[in-house]
Structure formats: C-alpha cells, structure tokens
C-alpha cells in the first residue's frame, strides 16, 4: 500500500500544477478514483487539449475496468447486490491484481477483497490531498510526477506470470500501441493495443493446444 502513497503524492502535485484546488483533487479521488485517469486529466489539460478530447481519452482508457469487472464477477455469485456494487466500484488496476491472485488461490472472500479496495482508496485519497497541498506550495517538474505512474505500471507488468502466451500478449500490446500512435490514434491507443495483445495471446494459446498457463482454475 506504500505504492499508493508514493503514487498519490505526484498525482496531487500534477493536479495542482494544472490549477486544480485541493478539494477538486479530493473529490476526484473519492468519486472517480482512477490512477491513470487522474494522471491523464492534468497532463492533457496542461498540454492544451480540449475538454472533449480529455473526456473521450480518459473514458477509452477506463474501458479496461470493464474487463476487470467481467473477470471478478465470477467470484460475486453469492454476495448481496450492495456489496457487489461497492466492490465493483472500488476496483483498480492495482487492487485487481492483488485480489484476483488471491481469489484464484482460493479462500478469499468479496468482503476481504473490498477491504483491500477501501484501504487502497483511503491511502490514495490522503496522499492525493497531500500532493495537491505540496504542489500548491512548490512547483515540481510534471514529467517526473507522471513517470511515477509509468514506473507503477512496469512493476505491475513484472508481477504477471511468466509464460509464452503472456509474452505474446505483452509484445502484441506494445506493437499495437506503437502502431496506433504512429497513425495518429493516440487517444484509443491503450485500448486498441491491449485488445491486440489479448487477441494475439488468445490465438497463440488456442493454436498451441491450451497449455495449463491459460487454463485458469475458476468456478470449481
């Protein structure tokens, strides 16, 4: 969870650099709660993008949450609607990784997973506010603050299981993103790249005859 503090501080600083008051940063951390999104908004705003472009890009990036929701839904079969709602609403890239691993290993409940989510979010909100206050007082280079996000994604990538199919997914996604950006599709680049990666890996794993790396033990 220290990761959230280290990540939240630069995010708050970036928001302050974009001229947002500390309460805006706080409201966003509570109700929007998206690391990538909250980095993208001030980044794009500082780069002079129109509001519509910001909204569209952030939404496109956030569609990946749908995939997390779809993936976690299989563990929400016998819990109340309210619990599933709150749990679903508090999923993030980071806590998804932590919770999915525990669900697959077994002996993990939605309630326990929700605690992980809420704990992460509290750390996120507090460090964002702290970052916003620091950012309002001193000015720091935004390139450094946004690299905190990149570092976090690299770390999450390193935590994935090492397998041939996963490697195909990674290479496919990277090539997809590079291609998209070269033809000027920088907004949907992340989404398209990720889908290309998933598609390549799926084809690869079906072609190579379903090794156990992709036969995930869920639902049994």
């Amino acid at each position: 969870m220290a990761g959230y503090v280290v990540l939240g501080l630069p995010c708050g600083i970036l928001c302050a650099a974009a001229g947002m008051d500390w309460w805006m940063t706080a409201v966003m951390s509570i109700l929007f709660y998206s690391g990538a999104g909250q980095y993208m908004i001030p980044n794009m705003y500082l780069a002079g993008n129109p509001l519509s472009a910001i909204i569209l890009s952030v939404t496109l990036v956030n569609t990946r949450q749908m995939l997390y929701g779809a993936s976690l839904s299989q563990f929400c079969g016998n819990v109340s609607k309210r619990l599933s709602f709150i749990f679903g609403a508090t999923v993030t890239d980071e806590s998804f990784g932590v919770n999915l691993a525990r669900f697959i290993n077994g002996g993990w409940t939605v309630r326990a997973a929700l605690f992980v989510n809420l704990f992460s979010q509290s750390a996120w909100i507090l460090s964002n506010i702290a970052g916003a206050l620091i950012g309002a007082a001193v000015s720091l280079p935004t390139a450094l603050a946004s690299f905190a996000m990149t570092s976090l994604f690299i770390c999450l990538l390193c935590m994935q299981k090492v397998s041939k199919a996963n490697a195909v997914a990674v290479v496919g996604a990277i090539l997809g993103v590079i291609l998209c950006k070269c033809v000027g599709l920088s907004g949907p680049a992340i989404l398209i790249g990720a889908l290309v990666g998933v598609g390549c890996a799926l084809l690869f794993s079906l072609k190579t005859g379903g090794s156990d790396d992709s036969a995930i033990k869920v639902g049994d």
């Binding site: 805006m24 995939l67 839904s73 929400c76 016998n78 709602f85 999450l156 990277i174 992709s214 639902g219």
Partner: protein, 112 residues
C-alpha cells in the same frame, strides 16, 4: 483549471467509469464463463499493463523531434524499473527508483 471545466470533465468521466466498473459485475454475476472467455480475460492484465507502459514511453513527436535524450532518458529509467520490479515486486521501490533515475538522467547532464 476553472471550476466549470473541472465539473464537466469530472462528471463525465466519473459516470462512464462507474458504468465500466459496476455493469459487468452485475451482468455476468455468478455465471459460468466459457473457457475461451476465461482464457482471454486472463490475458488482459499483461496486455493492458504493457499497453499503458508503451503508451507512456513511446511518443512519435519526441522520436521525430531529433532530441534523442527526451525519449532515451525515460527508456533507460524504465529499464532500471524493470530490474527493480523483477527483483523486489515492490510498487513503492519501483516508483522511487523510476522517478529518481529519471531525475538524475534528466537533470544530471545539465548540472555536469
């Protein structure tokens, strides 16, 4: 950012975000997913994170600008993070090393 701008962006993204997060949980709740779908879902994390990293590190405008250091420095810093990430699996260390090494690579040459 003005209060008005903020609310336009914030409300729009918050609504789409909530929909993306919550809808699949309810629509698919408790249902057994086909094997191929499960397989595809498992490739999402590596593909999504790789796409996010590639998106951050690759900027055609910087590559064509002629300023090699502007894209090489983050790339070198990212390589350090990969080493630290593979060894420690710690988010905090990755961020500290990533931001720290980029700071040194960006501002170090200027100071020398």
């Amino acid at each position: 950012m003005s209060v008005n701008d903020f609310f336009i962006v914030f409300v729009a993204v918050a609504i789409t975000m909530l929909a993306c997060r919550v809808l699949p949980v309810f629509l698919l709740k408790g249902r057994q997913l086909p094997e191929t779908v499960v397989r595809a879902l498992n490739f999402i994390p590596p593909a999504a994170f790789a796409a996010l990293v590639a998106n951050d590190l690759f900027d055609p405008a910087k590559v064509t600008s002629g300023d090699v250091w502007s894209w090489l420095a983050p790339l070198i810093a990212a390589a350090f993070v990969v080493i630290v990430g593979a060894k420690t699996k710690s988010m905090a260390w990755c961020i500290v090393v990533g931001v720290g090494s980029l700071a040194v690579l960006t501002y170090g040459p200027v100071l020398l």
